[in-house]
């Protein structure tokens, strides 16, 4: 396989967070009863006309500025003509020759810490189609036009990725960025962020690209990885078997883990693009541009740099904490609640992250708030509890047993024992039963000390201050 080079480019459909549709006043909220969010415009009633939702343009500009792209201050909407039941007008309004955003790119970080700049070709505004429903009626299909006209930003990369891992890293970075910018809710289950992946392979060293196949509509990073892996293997096998790759659009089946061709280039449609005469050119004024620039949030790169310099976090931790907006907001909220930044980072990337992963929750859904976590960390800092007890406190907060670290500590009596007399008493009791360990320690086996400390901690139900325990034992055995 090493003699093959993989070439990947992505087209991502990002649903923008406007309250109403891109060309009508209908709501974009997800999950309403079928066709209750479809106006005469969305239903393509005769005589109905589209009117541009400025909010969608602002979000596209925000994205363009964030990735250092060229903003076309005059972009053109075009009609993409084809017949399909979920496309009521018989054409989709999109941007073709002159998109609102051109060029730019973003930096991805791979697992090994290396970074790569992914160049973007363009990002253009378009409307989403409706949804065909095939399982609700006997012998007929239904069409739900609630989604028709939902604003999308289609973000297209150059074919610059060279592995599935890079593609996933890019998709994740983009996902983080659009949420950062608050232009997309990032909800992949609801289809707010969907990727089409163009994959081709070529012999290492060959300049020309191989023939590509496009895997459509991937809405999870896991499926994307599986789909790319399968597709790459399949293409290499085909070529090694002496077969030619035919340009095609393929679908990934998560049940079989395979990709399957939907249509090939031979039956590719002629979309008869032409500028939409119902919509004047989309103009981004200087004033609008200046306003959006002013309102730009601090972006991941800048945040990462600030975390390393201001909070002395490691580059790796800083990157992880700044990668997505919700995570960085959580981190900054905890720090704002006076918790030690390094401890917050450790807890977030350790205990919190593990708990979230275990229960498949996003950080926004974390049962332990940043403020609560800061409370736990504060009690470690002032030696009220040990690190180990802190984990118990965290678990209690996670399961909702109490509202604050202090409440848990109080209710469960977890306050650390720092009283020398009390600790000495426990130490004496343990030492009285530990002749063997004492002998080992005195003969130079350091491990024996750890064993004694463990026994003392256990006897104190974990509440004894470990540092003090250590010190007192050493003193008594010296």
């Amino acid at each position: 396989m090493s003699q093959w080079e993989i070439v990947i480019g992505l087209e991502t459909h990002v649903q923008l967070t406007t309250a109403s549709k891109i060309f009508s006043g209908s709501s974009t909220a997800f999950g309403a009863a079928p066709n209750t969010q479809a106006s005469v415009v969305d239903l393509a009633m005769p005589g109905a006309l589209p009117v541009m939702n400025k909010g969608a343009a602002e979000r596209a500009v925000k994205f363009g500025l964030a990735i250092g792209a060229k903003i076309n201050q005059r972009s053109i909407f075009a009609r993409k003509n084809y017949f399909y039941p979920d496309l009521p007008k018989g054409y989709q309004i999109s941007q073709y020759e002159t998109p609102i955003v051109e060029g730019g790119g973003l930096t991805i970080t791979l697992d090994d810490g290396t970074t790569k700049f992914i160049e973007l070709t363009r990002a253009h505004l378009e409307e989403d189609a409706g949804k065909s429903v095939h399982d609700q009626f006997d012998n007929a299909s239904g069409v739900d036009l609630n989604r028709a006209g939902t604003p999308l930003l289609e973000i297209v990369t150059e074919p610059v990725m060279r592995s599935g891992k890079e593609a996933i890293a890019y998709a994740k970075a983009l996902h983080g960025l659009v949420r950062y910018l608050d232009i997309c809710d990032g909800n992949m289950q609801e289809g707010s962020f969907r990727c089409d992946v163009n994959v081709s392979v070529r012999p290492m060293g060959q300049k020309e690209f191989g023939t590509r196949r496009e895997i459509k509509n991937l809405n999870s990073f896991k499926f994307m990885q599986q789909a790319i892996d399968y597709e790459v293997r399949w293409q290499i096998e085909q070529i090694e078997d002496g077969k030619k790759i035919v340009q095609a659009t393929v679908l990934f089946n998560p049940d079989t883990g395979e990709t399957r061709a939907m249509r090939t280039k031979e039956d590719a449609m002629d979309y008869r693009y032409f500028p939409d005469p119902d919509l004047p050119p989309l103009v981004v004024t200087d004033a609008m541009l200046a306003k959006i620039k002013n309102e730009m949030p601090e972006l991941p790169e800048a945040k990462c740099a600030r975390y390393t310099s201001e909070f002395k976090l490691s580059e790796y931790d800083a990157r992880l904490l700044s990668q997505d907006r919700a995570t960085s907001e959580y981190f900054e909220a905890a720090v704002a609640a006076k918790a030690d930044p390094k401890l917050v980072a450790n807890w977030m990337l350790g205990e919190l992250s593990a708990a979230l992963n275990r229960e498949e929750k996003s950080i926004e859904e974390s049962p332990v708030s940043a403020h609560q976590l800061a409370g736990v960390i504060a009690r470690i800092g002032d030696a009220t509890i040990s690190n180990k007890i802190a984990k118990t406190v965290f678990e209690a907060l996670w399961s909702g047993e109490a509202k604050s670290a202090d409440e848990v500590i109080e209710a469960k009596g977890l306050k650390q024992i720092s009283d020398v007399g009390a600790i000495e008493k426990i130490v004496d009791e343990v030492l009285a039963k530990s002749a063997a360990q004492i002998a080992d320690y005195k003969s130079g086996k350091e491990k024996a000390l750890m064993s004694i400390v463990g026994m003392v901690m256990k006897a104190s139900a974990g509440k004894a201050n470990p540092a003090q325990v250590n010190e007192i034992i050493k003193k008594k055995l010296s």
């Binding site: 009633m45 005589g47 006309l49 003509n81 054409y91 693009y273 032409f274 005469p277």
Partner: protein, 487 residues
């Protein structure tokens, strides 16, 4: 009573304002005329007397409550391309034979706000594609002056209904001459305003970049009053011009001294019937007597209007008409194998021959590899034609010429030859391509054929008030617009 069937909008308004007649009485009068004469003229597709009378009653009620809306109680009939909530809206097509509009177009709403009462929906060429009203699924409209002749198109019903006194005024739409040419054929005044003056929202689209709503009436003064009611910025139409309201009657009384009329030599060359050329010359003499001066101008690229139009209009139409797929509304074939078959059969059954022809042309010119050669080139021609006019306006204020190269023709005379039919719009199309305002007013008769001649006035953008002033002054000095057919 001081009003009669052929009382103008301006006089009808006065009769209403002075309570000589009520909206209900007017509605009843025109409805009964329409119901009896429509059998021979076929100008209306839909009449709904009950609805009309209740509208009229509502406008009378407004008046009794002290409302002083400008056209309170004046009847109007609408081309069946305008959606009106609850009214059947067919666009002259089998495709929409049973389509009940779920909302009201902005122009109709504006006119209702101004107090106007809808008398019914007027016959038209199918989807406004035609110059003779022969493509209507509901049968051709007859010219009230001569039932063997066409009324012009596509707004044939709009012209015939006003000419026959079935309504004091009507609305039309003009994509390539569909208001002005029928106005000439039926001896009326018709105005296509500057693109963007009247909202297109709720008007079934033919060619979006060319379509414009406008009024038909007996006089220029009436057209000004009607345009006052129709026009206005509409947030539902992104191509609607966002500008303050204006009073199109404001300059009607101005003397024409100093008006510079440009006469493009391209409008007076071969192809124009000599009887028409003569009538236009005579009308220009009237204008000169009223103080206007004439100057020859040249519009060298205007000869490309027809080819450019027959690329742009079908291209846009082919896309605009895609929504008529039988899925959500309109005609659906009774039997079909699958979704594609449903589309094919529904459209094959629902559309007439001319509509299909234009969809085919439009689909072709937008196809991959042809777009650059046709659509893009046509776009360039539109700019060149606009440049020609811009240059002409350096030496003139308005441009005049005949509205059409020949007058109302016999049914069937051109229906077998689309190109011949298309050439009837040779002078009107340029104003749609550029978006300029243009109008036609009666200016005599072609002595050779006995058919009416229209004076075509093309003005600079937003110069409607000046054009209406010119036509009004001409009408004060002439009687052509006062002729009515014997029915």
């Amino acid at each position: 009573m001081s009003w009669n069937t052929f009382t103008t909008v301006a006089e009808t308004k006065k009769a209403l304002d002075s309570k000589q007649v009520s909206a209900v009485e007017l509605a009843q009068h025109y409805l009964s005329r329409a119901l009896s004469l429509n059998k021979s003229l076929n100008a209306f597709i839909t009449i709904d007397s009950e609805r009309t009378i209740s509208e009229a009653q509502a406008q009378d009620n407004r008046r009794s409550k002290g409302d002083v809306a400008p056209l309170l109680g004046v009847p109007i009939a609408h081309k069946d391309i305008y959606l009106i909530d609850g009214w059947r809206t067919t666009c002259g097509s089998k495709m929409l034979e049973n389509f009940i509009a779920p909302y009201t177009s902005t122009v109709v709403q504006n006119m209702a706000n101004a107090g106007m009462v809808t008398l019914g929906k007027l016959n038209m060429d199918e989807f406004a594609m035609g110059s003779s009203n022969e493509t209507s699924y509901f049968g051709p409209v007859k010219n009230p002056w001569d039932l063997s002749r066409v009324p012009g198109g596509s707004s044939g019903g709009s012209a015939a209904s006003v000419a026959a006194g079935l309504t004091p005024a009507s609305t039309g739409t003009d994509t390539g001459g569909s208001i002005r040419q029928p106005a000439m054929f039926c001896n009326l005044t018709g105005l296509k305003p500057t693109y963007g003056i009247c909202s297109r929202y709720g008007i079934i689209a033919f060619a979006s970049s060319l379509d414009q709503a406008g009024p038909f009436a007996q006089t220029a003064e009436d057209c000004a009053l009607l345009l006052n009611a129709m026009a206005g910025f509409d947030p539902h139409d992104a191509t609607s011009l966002d500008r303050p309201k204006e009073d199109y009657t404001r300059d009607l009384a101005k003397p024409l001294k100093g008006l510079r009329i440009g006469l493009p030599k391209e409008f007076f060359g071969e192809g124009v019937a000599s009887g028409i050329a003569k009538a236009v010359e005579d009308a220009l003499d009237v204008y000169r007597k009223l103080g206007a001066t004439t100057v020859e101008v040249s519009l060298p690229n205007v000869k490309y209007s027809v080819p450019a139009y027959y690329v742009v209009a079908p291209a846009e139409a082919s896309s605009n008409l895609s929504r008529f797929d039988g899925a959500r509304f309109g005609h659906r074939a009774k039997e079909y194998d699958d979704i594609i078959d449903m589309y094919k059969r529904s459209r094959a059954e629902g559309f007439g021959a001319e509509v299909k022809r234009r969809i085919l042309i439009g689909t072709y010119v937008l196809s991959h590899g042809y777009y650059d050669a046709y659509y893009l080139q046509a776009g360039k021609l539109r700019r060149l034609i606009a440049e020609d006019f811009k240059k002409a306006y350096e030496v003139c204020d308005v441009v005049m010429g005949p509205t059409a190269p020949e007058g109302a023709f016999q049914f069937g005379a051109k229906s077998d030859d689309p190109v011949k039919m298309y050439l009837n719009d040779i002078f009107t199309i340029c104003a749609n391509l550029t978006g300029q305002p243009a109008m036609s007013h009666p200016c005599g008769v072609d002595k050779d054929t006995g058919q009416f001649v229209g004076m075509h006035i093309i003005g600079n953008y937003l110069d409607e008030a000046r054009m209406l002033n010119a036509a009004h002054q001409y009408q004060l000095a002439t009687e052509w617009h006062k002729a009515h057919p014997a029915l």
